[in-house]
C-alpha cells in the first residue's frame, strides 16, 4: 500500500518536472521559457520530497522531516532566481516574440 502511494507521488512529481522542462524547450522566447521552470518544478520537487519523506519514515531509521526544509528553501529561491534572470534579460534587451503586448511598459535602465 505504502509503496503504491510513494510510486504515485514520484510519478506525478516527475511528470510536473517533465512538463516544466518541455516548456523550457518548446516556448518561443526567453520570457515565456521562464514560466515552466519557475512554477512547474516547484510542485514537482515538493511531491518528490514528500515521497522521499514517506519512504524514509516507513522503511528506514524512523520519522524524517528534513525534506520540509528542502521544499521551503526551494520555494524561497525559485522566484528570486527567476527574477534575477528576467531582470538581466530586460537589461540586455532580449527580443520577445511579435505578439507580446505591453512592451512599452518596460522602462529604460537607470
Amino acid at each position: 500500500m505504502i509503496e503504491w502511494i510513494i510510486s504515485i507521488l514520484l510519478l506525478i512529481g516527475g511528470g510536473f518536472i517533465l512538463v516544466g522542462s518541455i516548456g523550457l524547450v518548446k516556448m518561443p522566447d526567453f520570457f515565456m521559457r521562464l514560466h515552466g521552470p519557475t512554477k512547474a518544478t516547484t510542485l514537482g520537487m515538493a511531491l518528490l520530497l514528500i515521497a522521499a519523506m514517506i519512504f524514509l519514515s516507513t522503511t528506514q531509521i524512523g520519522l524524517s522531516v528534513k525534506e520540509i526544509l528542502i521544499s521551503l528553501f526551494l520555494l524561497l529561491t525559485a522566484p528570486i532566481s527567476g527574477y534575477m534572470m528576467i531582470k538581466s534579460a530586460i537589461h540586455h534587451k532580449l527580443d520577445s516574440i511579435e505578439r507580446t503586448t505591453g512592451k512599452d511598459n518596460i522602462e529604460d535602465d537607470v
Binding site: G20, K26, M32, L34, T42, G44, L63, Y83, E107
Partner: protein, 178 residues
C-alpha cells in the same frame, strides 16, 4: 508599519521562531538537549546580527499571515496545473504580455514577498520594480511604485491587476499594517 519589536532582547520574534523550527528540523529530533540549543540559537543569532541589518517591518497580524500562506500554497498547486496545461497546449494560442501593476505598498520587504508570490502563482512572473530605489525619507510621502510582470497568457489586463491587488496585496498590507 512597525519597525521596532516589543522586547529589546527579541528584535525579530518570528525569525527567532523560524530559527528554532529549522534547527529542530535539521537535527530531526525533539530531545531536551536540542530544544535547549535551539532556544539559545534563536535568541542569540538575531541579537548578534541585528546591528548589521536594516530595519524591516514586523508582522503585526500573525493569524492573517498564516491564512495568507495557506492561500498562496493552494494557489501554487492550481498554478502548476494551469501552467502545465498552457505549456502542453499549442504555442499559437498563447498571447504573452507585459503588465504594469501599480502598488500601494511602499516598503521593500512586503514588495519582495508580493513579487515572489506573483512569480509562484498562475501564469505570471515578476520582472522589474519601478522606481527601483527605496525612498523612505522621514515625513515624506513614499513614492508610487510599479511592479512589471510578464504574463504567459494575457486575457484581461484590468482583471489581472485587480486579482493581484485584491488577492495578494491587500492581505500583505494588513499583515504589515503599512
Amino acid at each position: 508599519m512597525r519597525l521596532e519589536a516589543k522586547f529589546k532582547w527579541l528584535p525579530t520574534p518570528y525569525r527567532s521562531l523560524l530559527l528554532f523550527a529549522v534547527w529542530l528540523l535539521l537535527n530531526n529530533s525533539v530531545s531536551a538537549g536540542h530544544i535547549l540549543l535551539a532556544v539559545t540559537l534563536a535568541v542569540v543569532i538575531p541579537l548578534a546580527t541585528s546591528p548589521f541589518r536594516t530595519k524591516q517591518p514586523l508582522i503585526i497580524k500573525p493569524g492573517l499571515a498564516f491564512r495568507h500562506l495557506m492561500l498562496v500554497l493552494y494557489d501554487i498547486i492550481t498554478a502548476n496545473i494551469q501552467v502545465a496545461i498552457l505549456i502542453l497546449g499549442p504555442n499559437k494560442k498563447l498571447t504573452p504580455g507585459f503588465v504594469k501593476v501599480p502598488l500601494d505598498l511602499a516598503h521593500n520587504m512586503p514588495i519582495t514577498i508580493l513579487a515572489s508570490t506573483v512569480s509562484l502563482t498562475p501564469g505570471t512572473v515578476s520582472a522589474e520594480l519601478y522606481p527601483w530605489r527605496e525612498c523612505l525619507a522621514e515625513g515624506k510621502e513614499p513614492e508610487k511604485r510599479f511592479l512589471l510582470i510578464h504574463v504567459l497568457n494575457l486575457e484581461d489586463e484590468q482583471a489581472l491587476i485587480k486579482t493581484i491587488k485584491e488577492r495578494y496585496e491587500a492581505p500583505l498590507k494588513e499583515i504589515f499594517q503599512c
